[in-house]
């Protein structure tokens, strides 16, 4: 009996390494082929572990916040001066925006134009990040139970953060703009020329399918075009950076590592999809 147990143990030990290597490779292959079983497993795990991730993230968030506040204290004088100048400039823009808003409302009334559908939103906290070579995602503490659906836009105060790719009951995963699989239809704010911004797992984005290739000035702002009907038009995405001659790169307005709360927009074009929620309606954000 003892001999049999020893023999079984030795055989298990001998074949454990090749067995688990083959199993891992099989899982990788299943992930590569987008097997629905993998998606389901991920969703269920997210639901179970989201409360634990939420608790685990708080001390690290507190450390990040403490480091931020020390940096803020060190730069308080320079920051104050910068904000004063920015405030003066923004007061001027506020006056111009009010005037344009009134004009716009009047023209819309005259033309009987169709109003943009308004977006409902859910506010959620970022409880986890994935960094590294493979993916750039974040985990939110709101899910299908809160009205979150796959494809919805996630925004912060300064612009677009990404899109929802996985939803569990009380949590969801956002594919960040910088992820290799992210593709967002945009337009140049100045002349409305269309393009696609794509991530490559670095901190900046690439610009694809633009008619202006080779003739793009640094500092040009990009906003969502609204093409496809899932993202509201006009959400700030990023600004063109880099020198002349190099392929244009786009720096996103939002750095997800520096924000804690986001809004998930429930934007649906009338007739395209059935609106599920009417609560929390707000005026167009941008």
């Amino acid at each position: 009996m003892l001999k049999l147990v020893l023999l079984t143990r030795q055989t298990t030990q001998r074949f454990a390494l090749p067995f688990f290597v083959v199993a891992a490779l099989a899982f990788i292959l299943m992930s590569r082929t987008d097997n629905p079983w993998v998606t389901d497993a991920r969703t269920h795990t997210l639901d179970v572990l989201a409360p634990v991730i939420d608790v685990a993230s708080r001390p690290v968030s507190a450390v990040n916040a403490a480091v931020d506040s020390v940096n803020n204290w060190l730069a308080v004088a320079a920051e104050n001066e910068k904000l004063r100048r920015e405030n003066a400039r923004l007061m001027h823009w506020q006056a111009a925006a009010r005037q344009l808003l009134a004009e716009n409302r009047e023209f819309r009334g005259l033309l009987s134009s169709v109003a943009e559908p308004r977006a409902a939103f859910v506010t959620a906290r970022i409880i986890g990040h994935s960094s590294g070579t493979f993916v750039r995602t974040a985990v939110l503490n709101a899910g299908t139970g809160d009205g979150v659906r796959v494809g919805q836009a996630v925004v912060a105060a300064h612009g677009l953060v990404g899109r929802i790719t996985e939803t569990a009951r009380h949590s969801s995963r956002v594919l960040l703009l910088t992820d290799l699989n992210s593709r967002i239809p945009v337009v140049f704010e100045s002349d409305r020329k269309p393009a696609i911004v794509s991530g490559d797992n670095s901190r900046v984005l690439s610009l694809l399918f633009t008619e202006l290739a080779g003739n793009i000035d640094a500092g040009e702002r990009l906003v969502t075009s609204g093409e496809g009907g899932m993202l509201p038009p006009g959400i700030p995405v990023g600004v063109v950076t880099g020198s002349q001659g190099d392929p244009p790169r786009v720096t996103p307005f939002v750095d997800p590592a520096r924000i804690e709360h986001v809004r998930i927009l429930d934007y649906t074009l009338p007739g395209l999809m059935q609106t599920t929620r009417e609560a929390g309606m707000l005026e167009p954000l941008w």
Binding site: F20, A26, T45, V60, S61
Partner: protein
């Protein structure tokens, strides 16, 4: 009889401590730290857990546990399923065959050897990424990941050593001693 059963249950529960401590470390790293222009970098504390337990209690963290820890990490972080599992299984194999280089050595030597294993793990991860994505992934994030993981080693080692004390204590207590 009931006391025997209680002691046995306690020892069995404590034997899961290596896997539980590994999952806890992976959970902590799901919120990466922010490093200015480098971006968000998360340490590979799952690798730390596998190295520690493979060196000091390989009987409690076998290939199956390393594989499960990797699968949990992949599910939590949104990585392609199997990537971390493969890295941790390879790390376990690399360490278990070279345990004697870690045992009965000064802390600084263990730290240096640990750094070499972390570098090897990150290189494997980088190569898997290159194959999976069929592109050349940037190196800077990986370099910072190695530096951060190695820098955090003393603190994590201390925590895991306390867990090991608990495991040893449960193993020494005779069944039924409360």
């Amino acid at each position: 009889m009931i006391e025997d059963w209680g002691g046995s249950l306690r020892r069995r529960a404590v034997s899961f401590l290596p896997l539980v401590s590994g999952v806890a470390l992976v959970l902590v790293t799901s919120t990466p730290l922010y490093f200015g222009h480098v971006g968000d970098v998360a340490p590979r504390l799952g690798v730390t857990a596998v190295i520690f337990w493979t060196v000091y209690r390989p009987d409690l963290l076998g290939y199956g546990s390393a594989f499960c820890l990797g699968i949990v990490a992949d599910l939590m972080t949104g990585l392609p399923l199997g990537i971390t599992a493969l890295v941790l299984v390879m790390v376990r194999h690399g360490v278990v065959t070279r345990r004697r280089y870690f045992l009965r050595k000064s802390f600084h030597i263990v730290w240096a050897e640990y750094a070499l294993v972390v570098i090897a793990a990150v290189v494997i991860d980088w190569m898997l990424a290159a194959l999976y994505l069929w592109s050349y992934p940037g190196l800077l994030v990986h370099v910072f990941q190695v530096l951060l993981t190695v820098a955090l080693f003393p603190g994590v080692y201390w925590l895991l050593a306390r867990c090991q004390d608990l495991v040893s204590l449960a193993g020494r207590q005779p069944a039924g001693s409360g």
